[in-house]
């Protein structure tokens, strides 16, 4: 996978992310499904709808420069997470003040008080994505806020406090849809602890 040239300022990235999260928080209760009458096609459609309006692409699909300016999700790498080929340089050191977080132009790497997090590969690739996951793994992950439902904490900016309120039916629809999209092999780096984060100008 090729590296994507960052084109947006961190502030723009944060705004986009925040807007996506706001949309997700307000739109999720819409369209409650009736499991008794739901077909596979219905479930996939609802999953696609939820993934779209919940802003999953905003962080899990790398952004690329947009013709005419700005940036847009690179749908050829849909939901494949932070590109493994994009080795991030040290995050800029922020002065003391209200600014706490910066993100890559791809919107797939975030640096903040928790360290550096890289968005996960949500495609069904068995080695680097969710290909081996069961629905139970996915549901437990969202409910507990732990990787694979049992492992390390899932880090910001993933909005677990909001998403953990999704119904089981909605989570199942999301998972079914994610399992249906094209698999992309992309091994996302492990997160970095604050103490392990190289700081620009202070190696």
């Amino acid at each position: 996978m090729n590296a994507t040239t960052p084109t947006r300022s961190p502030l723009t990235s944060i705004r986009i992310g925040a807007a996506a999260l706001l949309c997700a928080a307000t739109a999720l209760p819409v369209l409650a499904a009736d499991p008794a009458t739901t077909t596979v096609e219905d479930k996939l459609a609802r999953g696609k709808y939820l993934v779209t309006i919940a802003g999953c692409n905003d962080c899990h699909t790398p952004f690329k420069p947009k013709q005419g300016g700005g940036a847009e999700p690179d749908m050829s790498r849909m939901l494949s997470g932070h590109p493994e080929s994009l080795a991030m340089p040290p995050a800029p050191e922020l002065p003391n003040g209200p600014w706490k977080v910066v993100s890559a132009g791809t919107n797939t790497a975030w640096s903040g008080p928790w360290g550096v997090s890289f968005t996960a590969n949500l495609t069904p690739d068995p080695e680097t994505g969710l290909g081996r996951w069961t629905f139970r793994n996915f549901k437990d992950t969202i409910r507990t806020g732990r990787h694979m439902g049992r492992g390390r904490p899932i880090l910001p900016p993933m909005p677990i406090p909001m998403y953990k309120n999704m119904t089981d039916d909605d989570l199942e629809a999301v998972f079914s849809y994610l399992q249906s999209i094209p698999a992309i092999s992309n091994r996302v780096p492990e997160p970095l602890a604050p103490s392990a984060v190289p700081v620009a100008g202070n190696p």
Binding site: G115, L130, R132, W133, T134, F135, R136, N137, D140, R143, T144, G145, R146, H147, M148, G149, R150, G151, R152, P153, L155, R187, P189, E190, P191, L192, A193, A196
Partner: protein, 371 residues
């Protein structure tokens, strides 16, 4: 039949739980208890589960009016491969409703009767917390923790999100959230982790790290009391043990079973085991269980990449513990790296030494051709 209530909650501390002690042989006692059981079970089946008691003393662990004398129906047990809890001393008890039994037809996934209760007490110099698991009448399980008060006279229910308290010598002590309880306990086929065929085998591992004294509760004693049924006869005749080439490998695999096997469990219909290829849970039903665990570890690629690693890493490299990811993660207490990922703030140095010896010597010797 009246059920005594304390602060509006049923008092389970006296007659409700079956006596596994000598008193249980008293036929009259058993008959009375059975009647109580039928009445309480009938009432419970038609009602929603009552809220968790606010005080540990109301959960049925102790005799009424005491927080030190264990109720006759609560039986102490000791798993042979205990979970590392940063050196805390632990005591455990189980109580079954009267007239019920554990169905061991599935040797690795015992079916516990509804109404089963278990407690685990943690002490760091003095009692700090007691965790509580209960199987409800609808078949589900609930999890709670109780934190002991400063005077150690009783323990109170911890909020669902967990809490922190101060243990002896001012040490900060974290009490897990309910979701954290589920994260570990619900990864296995049955959420009761320390009360199983392997853990209660009378053929106990003398090299198991942090092993506690046996309590006398083992497979045969449970079967003799009639509270464990349908266990395979061969497991009663020859108590299960991990079949390995060396005693140190047995202890190493036992430690991994007791500390990691509930998440790295054997895949089953629940889909709850973590979606990685490494399986650390042993099976008493499958003779090749130990070999399968070793095979899943040795030479297996790790999804984890240590900071700065340019190449793929391996979980276990025979003869090279320093190049193996597994001990690296067991030694770390960075939340992003550490294994187990929760429930411990201090690495288990004794177990690490055991695991590293196993990797550096036992596995290495196995690879080298023998003269």
């Amino acid at each position: 039949m009246n059920v005594k209530r304390v602060n509006g909650e049923p008092d389970h501390s006296s007659s409700r739980f079956i006596c596994w002690s000598k008193q249980s042989r008293n036929a009259l006692c058993a008959a009375v208890i059975s009647v109580v059981a039928m009445v309480t079970a009938a009432g419970a089946a038609s009602a929603a589960a009552p809220p968790l008691p606010q005080r540990l003393s109301d959960t049925g662990l102790f005799v009424a009016g005491s927080t030190s004398e264990i109720a006759p129906g609560s039986v102490a047990f000791s798993p042979q491969y205990p979970l590392w809890s940063d050196g805390a001393q632990k005591r455990r008890w189980i109580a079954l409703p009267p007239g019920t039994f554990i169905d061991a037809a599935r040797a690795d996934a015992w079916e516990f009767p509804r109404g089963t209760r278990l407690w685990k007490e943690f002490s760091v110099g003095e009692r700090v917390e007691t965790r509580f698991i209960e199987r409800l009448q609808d078949g589900s399980w609930r999890f709670a923790a109780y934190v002991w008060n400063q005077d150690r006279t009783d323990a109170v229910l911890v909020p669902e999100e967990g809490t922190t308290t101060v243990a002896a010598r001012g040490r900060r002590y974290a009490i897990p959230a309910e979701a954290d309880c589920r994260a570990c306990h619900e990864g296995a086929p049955v959420p009761v982790l320390g009360f199983s065929a392997l853990q209660l085998s009378s053929d106990r591992d003398p090299l198991a790290p942090h092993a506690e004294p046996a309590t006398g509760v083992d497979l045969r004693s449970l079967a003799a009391r009639g509270v464990l049924k349908n266990l395979r006869a061969d497991l009663l005749e020859q108590p299960p043990r991990i079949a390995t080439a060396s005693p140190s490998e047995r202890a190493a695999l036992g430690y991994l079973h007791g500390n990691c096997g509930h998440c790295h469990s054997r895949p089953d219909a629940s889909g709850a085991s973590v979606p990685v290829s490494v399986v650390l849970a042993q099976s008493v039903a499958e003779p090749n269980s130990a070999a399968a665990v070793v095979k899943s570890l040795v030479g297996a690629p790790s999804r984890f990449r240590p900071l700065g690693a340019q190449r793929a890493t391996q979980l276990v490299v025979p003869g090279a513990s320093h190049a193996s990811v597994m001990p690296l993660r067991m030694r770390s207490r960075d939340a992003r790296v550490q294994m187990p990922p929760l429930g411990t703030d201090m690495p288990d140095l004794e177990a690490l030494a055991l695991i590293e010896r196993w990797i550096d010597h036992s596995l290495q010797q196995r690879r080298e051709p023998q003269p």
